[in-house]
Symmetry: C2
Subunit: 115 residues, 2 copies
Amino acid sequence: MGLKVRKNQSPPVPHNCPLSECMSVLGGAWTPNVIWSLSGGVRRFNELRVDIPPISAKVLTVRLKTLEQQGIITRQVKATSPPSVEYALTELGKELLPAIDAIVKVGHKLKQRSK
Amino acid sequence: MGLKVRKNQSPPVPHNCPLSECMSVLGGAWTPNVIWSLSGGVRRFNELRVDIPPISAKVLTVRLKTLEQQGIITRQVKATSPPSVEYALTELGKELLPAIDAIVKVGHKLKQRSK
DNA sequence: TTAATAAGTTACCGTTAGGTAACCTTTAGT
DNA sequence: ACTAAAGGTTACCTAACGGTAACTTATTAA
């Protein structure tokens, strides 16, 4: 006879889980920070580095590439001199903002708590 | 002369960042799933394993310990036979639910998208 | 006394993530 | 000719993460 499992009152999480799906986007180091930074509008590579001081160029590069592939941000080269590159949230990317807002809010409560 | 950085329109993220604070709680593998599962009420170790089939006992142990230390969940031993252990969200833990809800919602949109 | 159940624990291992630091390319200005 | 600015790229290294599988303890029932 198997394990007795009480019926779970929480909505069942489907096997191919939206929670994991979303976390695979938000999961990498500094990813939510990048999206948060872009929520204020278009931003260049080095501006993002200033917004998020601890991020390294390498990781920022990787994040931006990945997010572009995932359709979360766009990358546009401007013919300035030297050429600059502008990153912006797509419509899909903007859908992430409520989640990030919620995360920030909890972050504040956690910080209050730890004082 | 330094880098020209346009003023960012997004609310500045303070140095000791609530975003990172919260992600350090949600970041580990399966953590949001565990919290989500507990949102339906008290749950035992092996019930959680059933709720989240791919999680290993080892990782679940680590998650539960960490979340308990962080004040997100409680752990209570019941004098059944064999003794069983019940995990539940604390008030602080419940504060995470809106964030997780938001993440799940985006997860659905991402899944639609990829079809 | 053997087995089942609950809740872990431990050793071992491979992969990957992310940090550092050096390097590269293009364009324009001095 | 040299330098600065923008936006990367690359090699290298280490720590940490997470998976597997075997083992443990306590209690009770058959």
